[in-house]
């Protein structure tokens, strides 16, 4: 059942600064805190011992080493390919991607995506916003809840310390812009109390272009907001990308059900889901 062999430990340690796991853990934390993405490559099967690690950032820069310069080069190139796919982790034989490295062809490298968990930004702490923030937290996502009414975003209402609360004292635009940042890995659900507020929030994310932007409301009301944005010169591409009305059609009625419908759409966008029932393939 478990046939892991004894890993031969033949290779002398390289420079300690290059392969210091502390330094690598620090480099990983830096990537995560900066909202960036990287690939962690680990030698998991090898005639020369296992466990060596190398972090490869999207710009190609690296920390650590697998213990061989030529191998590092090839693995760094493969890491870029890995990052362009959606996989969270995959394992590849060196011979698959670097046939020229004869001595390493049987070795296997585990590639893991290093990426901060998705950040769900909820604009509006009413019934739907509150339910959405709590549900997104239960999925392990980073969540920030924003409202311009300070008494709606209190620890009394949301005791979960992992849920970030923002009282937009200077108006929505600034709070939303600062929270969304560069927009990568960010999903924004606009569920404020009114359509003027919704419009302010949408304008605030125009530049950042988050991975997902949705706005709550009826077809008619959301169209009015989008039309106003169009008239003021907002580009078609952005308007088309806005999910309005927000969410999947699951017949949601209660605030909690609406929150589920929104979060299901956010998950599908992130993971590339079709949103069709899994049973739709059946013939019987």
């Amino acid at each position: 059942m478990n046939d892991a062999g004894d890993a031969p430990a033949a290779r002398p340690a390289d420079g300690p600064s290059q392969n210091n796991p502390s330094a690598l853990a620090g480099a990983i934390a830096e990537v995560l805190r900066g909202g960036a993405v990287a690939a962690l490559a680990t030698l998991v099967e090898s005639p020369h011992g296992v466990g060596a690690k190398m972090l490869v950032r999207t710009d190609g820069s690296r920390s650590g080493s697998l213990g061989d310069d030529a191998l590092d080069e090839s693995v760094a190139a493969r890491a870029v390919v890995f990052l362009s796919a959606r996989d969270e982790a995959s394992t590849h034989r060196v011979g698959e991607f670097a046939p020229a490295l004869g001595g390493w062809s049987a070795a296997r490298v585990l590639f893991e995506r290093v990426e901060p968990e998705p950040h769900v930004v909820v604009c509006g702490a009413g019934h739907v916003g509150a339910a959405l923030a709590r549900l997104a937290r239960s999925l392990g996502y980073r969540v920030t809840l924003i409202d311009d009414r300070a008494d709606f975003v209190t620890r009394g209402r949301f005791p979960d310390a992992g849920l970030a609360l923002v009282a937009a004292a200077d108006g929505w635009a600034r709070a939303v812009r600062e929270t969304v940042g560069a927009g990568r890995g960010v999903s924004v659900a606009v569920v404020t109390r009114g359509h003027n507020e919704d419009e302010e929030c949408l304008r605030a994310v125009l530049e950042a272009r988050p991975d997902y932007v949705g706005m709550i409301g009826s077809r008619r009301r959301t169209n009015i907001v989008l039309e106003r944005l169009r008239e003021s010169g907002v580009g078609e591409e952005f308007l088309r990308a806005v999910r309005a009305p927000v969410g999947l059609d699951i017949g949601a009625v209660t605030p909690e059900e609406v929150a589920l419908s929104i979060l299901a759409e956010i998950v599908a966008q992130r993971r590339g889901g079709s949103c069709a029932p899994l049973s739709s393939w059946r013939r019987l």
Binding site: G49, K53, G67, E88, A89, P116
Partner: protein, 116 residues
Amino acid sequence: MSTIPQLELYRMIDEARSRGERVVVATVAHTRGSTPQRRGAKMLFFADGRTAGTVGGGCIEAEVWAEARETLRTGRAALHRFSLTADEASEEGMVCGGTMEIFIDVWDGKAVTGDR
């Protein structure tokens, strides 16, 4: 136990290491067929017996646990294969029926490459 955010996971590894403790990290490296966890899922094992995260439920947990304990002792990282064939799975009333390769790794103060 549920999925741990990555930043939290590496913070826990770093904290244990800064206390001079060894941390064993089990990662699902490869899966085939129906398995209880996704590739990349991680479970941490600390010297004081605490754990965090999961690499799958009842199917293989006891075996991973045993290997991780052994790794905490020896400090030797290795790739382990666990098969959850349909027969074995149904005998034990388990829902999965694939194979999983789990890399059981060691994060301690020593250099990562080479002999340990």
